[in-house]
């Protein structure tokens, strides 16, 4: 009868969430690093480097959430209640850091510096906890979430929360290496190095922990011939770490950011491999969660037309603000 759009929707959803993680990842990372910068002039530059684009970056979060609602409503209705409080903390964190962009320079007080930093930290921690809760699996009865509102309080979820803070801080530092120069750039390079080791430690921990805890994930990765087919994932990840450390040492401006993006991509791929075809681990797959063909088709027509246009003008907006951010110049 009609074309099965479920795999395509799964791809678009995966793309939207990944775009969000990358794009808001680096500007949340800038917020995480914010108070540790050498001085206030650096902090101004850090904020300015993301001020024109953060709003667009955060729009991918809305798209990810709504695409989930539109294409896989059962997953939306089951996952969000499971992470009721992490979502609350994420939203409140994002709210405080978002308004800080505008409020900060309108006052002499430090409140909004703190709001920017702590908002970023809390939002990131909450997103990491959502990730950890998701990977651990979400209990379902019928079409309803079957757990409690505090099931997310687990050592593993808190670990992924802290791990994501390190990850966003890394990508934020690499963004600053690319977008700034001089003292701030040198400082960012140092922080990027520190967080590279931090992120490596968290990736190793999570990679060992998950297969031990989740038999499905163990079976996915450690049975023959999967072991062979999937071996490029850890190998490429290791290569990216090596490239990242070398690029940070060699003084290349853009390469660390690209290498960090690559690391995120590999982690994301690893997660995808572990979970697929489940969208609510480990009980509801993409097809069981999907909305009706009529709904998916109606939205797909517009998405295929609009998404390329969105990518084009978002790219244009980045291009307008290309190059290094300069103190007090450029935006007049």
């Amino acid at each position: 009868m009609t074309l099965d759009l479920v795999p395509l929707w799964a791809g678009i959803l995966a793309l939207a969430v990944f775009m969000y993680v990358l794009l808001d990842g680096f500007d949340l990372g800038v917020g995480i690093l914010f108070p540790f910068a050498p001085d206030d002039a650096c902090r101004d530059l850090m904020m300015n480097s993301v001020a024109p684009i953060w709003d667009g970056n955060e729009t991918w979060l809305v798209l990810g959430g709504i695409a989930l609602l539109a294409a896989f409503p059962l997953a939306f209705a089951v996952i969000l209640p499971a992470v009721y409080f992490p979502i609350l903390f994420m939203l409140v964190g994002l709210t405080f850091r978002g308004v800080a962009f505008e409020f900060r320079h309108l006052t002499h007080q430090r409140h909004w510096d703190h709001a920017f930093h702590w908002g970023s930290v809390v939002a990131t921690l909450a997103q990491g906890v959502v990730l950890g809760t998701y990977v651990q699996g979400i209990p379902v009865t019928g079409r309803v979430y079957a757990g409690g509102s505090f099931d997310w309080v687990t050592p593993f979820a808190l670990l992924t929360g802290v791990g994501l803070i390190a990850g966003y801080a890394l990508i934020g530092a690499c963004w600053l290496v690319m977008k700034t120069e001089g003292e701030l750039q040198a400082w960012a390079r140092g922080r990027a190095r520190t967080f590279t080791f931090g992120v490596a430690a968290f990736i190793a921990l999570v990679s060992i922990w998950t297969p031990l805890v989740e038999p499905q994930i163990h079976a996915r990765w450690f049975t023959w011939p999967n072991l062979l087919w999937l071996s490029p994932v850890p190998i490429i990840t290791l290569a990216l770490f090596a490239w990242l450390l070398r690029a940070l040492k060699s003084g290349n401006d853009a390469a660390p950011f690209l290498a960090a993006l690559g690391l995120f991509a590999m982690c994301y791929l690893g997660l995808g491999i572990s979970i697929i075809p489940m969208i609510v681990p480990y009980s509801i797959n993409f097809w069981a969660a999907a909305s009706s063909g009529k709904s998916q088709t109606f939205l797909m027509v517009g998405t295929l037309f609009l998404l390329p246009i969105i990518v084009m003008y978002t790219g244009w907006s980045y291009w307008v603000f290309r190059g290094k951010v300069k103190a007090g110049a450029g935006y007049h």
Binding site: D55, G56, T59, L63, G65, L69, L88, L299, T303, L306
Partner: protein, 462 residues
């Protein structure tokens, strides 16, 4: 005491939407106003339009930022607190909201950076185009979210299978019976809200003898628009009311606190509805006028609340009073427009002090009307979340207990008080500074830095 997750979730949704709606109510009109100012400056080259655009852009940056972050909260409420609603209606509501994201949010966000920070980086026509894109984005957003809201009020074009709603005809879903009226009424209300704020700020400075050219320009533009829109809004409101009577008669009965089906119904100006006794314990009304307004016929019969079983009736007092607040605000605006004609005819639009004072006092009236109108229509929809088909109490997330929602509600209340309180304070300062060609920050530079922080509101002030 047991805490009711349904009631608390409704309270939470009320709180986050009521505060959020203040921002689109203002920024939808302001984005269009800025696009017009940019267009006028682009075509005429007059400096006053540029000064005004730069000033209102600072205000826009602050209010739009607040609108974005408080808006992100909303779709997540659907999942966290109303997961049964999401599961039941996502096949309809999901694609519509996704279209809002695809057509509106990305358009706004993509061009906002260029509008706020890019004046020196792109050619003038491109900057003007960015202003038009942002303004279009706000209108597209209004379109889609009101499609969703209207479908919940007057659902059409779907079938129900196992308690879930599935689309049959998207055209019927989108252009459901109440949508055209709701969209026209809401957008007009948003434009009026902005025009009243613009007039109020102009009047404030003119009374103090500042910014004469800018002030006079703003007043003329504001009252030129209000002269058309306020009377138009009365007509649109009337049509919207007729539409509601046709599709949601119980809501009209609640708005009019009308218990018994009757012809020659009076228009109640004030009443104390008593839901237990099913009557008004006190009322003052004008005979027959209710039937004339609602049916355009003195003998027109209007259904009373007793036509519905008690569990199918909306609350009465809230829609009754909220509606009267909205209409009272509208009547006051109309009186203000009449005054403007008088002073304009006498050539004193920007000089008559009594009139300027009135404009200042009237500046927040649009917000009052928008929020009161929203409360009227949403409370009037109860006890349904999808009118006549899905009850609000069947829509809430089953795993939530009241204590969970108390915690989240308290967090939202505290966070929003801090954010909206600060935002209101900063906006007040920007209004008070006026269209100056220098930074709005007074006193010593913050934190002893040489480099000025460059956010949207400061970008053009440097």
């Amino acid at each position: 005491m047991s805490l009711d997750a349904v009631f608390l979730s409704r309270l939470q949704f009320f709180w986050v939407v009521a505060l959020h709606i203040l921002l689109p109510a203002f920024t939808v009109g302001l984005a269009s106003y800025i696009a017009v100012l940019e267009g006028l400056h682009f075509t005429t080259g007059r400096a006053v339009y540029l000064r005004l655009s730069k000033f209102w852009l600072k205000v826009f940056a602050v209010s739009f930022g607040m609108g974005v972050v408080s808006g992100i909260v909303m779709p997540f409420q659907f999942g966290t607190n109303w997961s049964r609603f999401s599961d039941a209606t996502a096949d309809i509501v999901g694609p519509l909201m996704a279209y809002e994201g695809l057509t509106a949010f990305f358009l706004e966000a993509g061009f906002l950076g260029v509008l706020l920070f890019g004046r020196a980086r792109v050619p003038p026509w491109m900057h003007f185009a960015a202003a038009v894109m942002v303004a279009s984005g706000t209108l597209f957003s209004t379109f889609w979210i009101l499609v969703v809201n209207s479908w919940m009020q007057t659902p059409m074009g779907h079938s129900i299978v196992d308690g879930r709603f599935f689309p049959d005809d998207w055209f019927a879903v989108i252009f459901n019976p109440s949508f055209p009226y709701r969209f026209a009424h809401t957008v007009t209300g948003f434009y009026i809200t902005t025009a009243l704020v613009v007039a109020g700020v102009a009047a404030y400075h003119l009374r103090a003898g500042r910014f004469r050219e800018e002030g006079a320009t703003m007043l003329k533009m504001a009252f030129g628009l209000l002269t058309i829109l306020v009377p138009l809004q009365m007509g649109l409101g009337d049509l919207h009311g007729l539409n509601t009577r046709e599709h949601q008669p119980a809501k009209i009965a609640a708005i009019e606190a009308n218990w018994d089906t009757q012809g020659r119904m009076p228009l109640l100006l004030f009443a104390l509805p008593d839901e237990h006794a099913q009557r008004n314990s006190f009322e003052i009304g004008i005979p027959v006028l209710g039937s004339i307004i609602l049916t355009h016929d003195a003998d027109g019969v209007v259904q009373g609340l007793k036509e519905w079983k008690a569990q199918d009736r909306p609350p009465v007092a809230i829609p009754f009073f909220a509606f009267r607040v909205m209409v009272g605000a509208g009547a006051t605006m109309l009186a203000l427009v009449f005054c403007s004609w008088w002073v304009w005819w006498r050539g004193e639009l920007a000089a008559a002090r009594w009139f300027l004072k009135l404009c200042e006092v009237a500046a927040p009236l649009g917000f009052v009307a928008v929020v009161a109108g929203w409360i009227t229509t949403e409370v009037g929809r109860q006890p349904w979340v999808v009118y006549g088909m899905l009850r609000t109490r069947d829509a809430v997330t089953p795993s939530l207990d009241g204590g969970d929602v108390v915690v989240s509600l308290v967090v939202y209340v505290v966070a929003y008080l801090a954010i909206f309180g600060s935002g209101g304070y900063f906006l007040g300062r920007l209004f008070g500074a006026g269209p100056l060609d220098k930074p709005a920050v007074s006193g010593p530079q913050p934190k002893g830095t040489a480099a000025r922080p460059l956010s949207g509101a400061a970008a053009d002030a440097n």
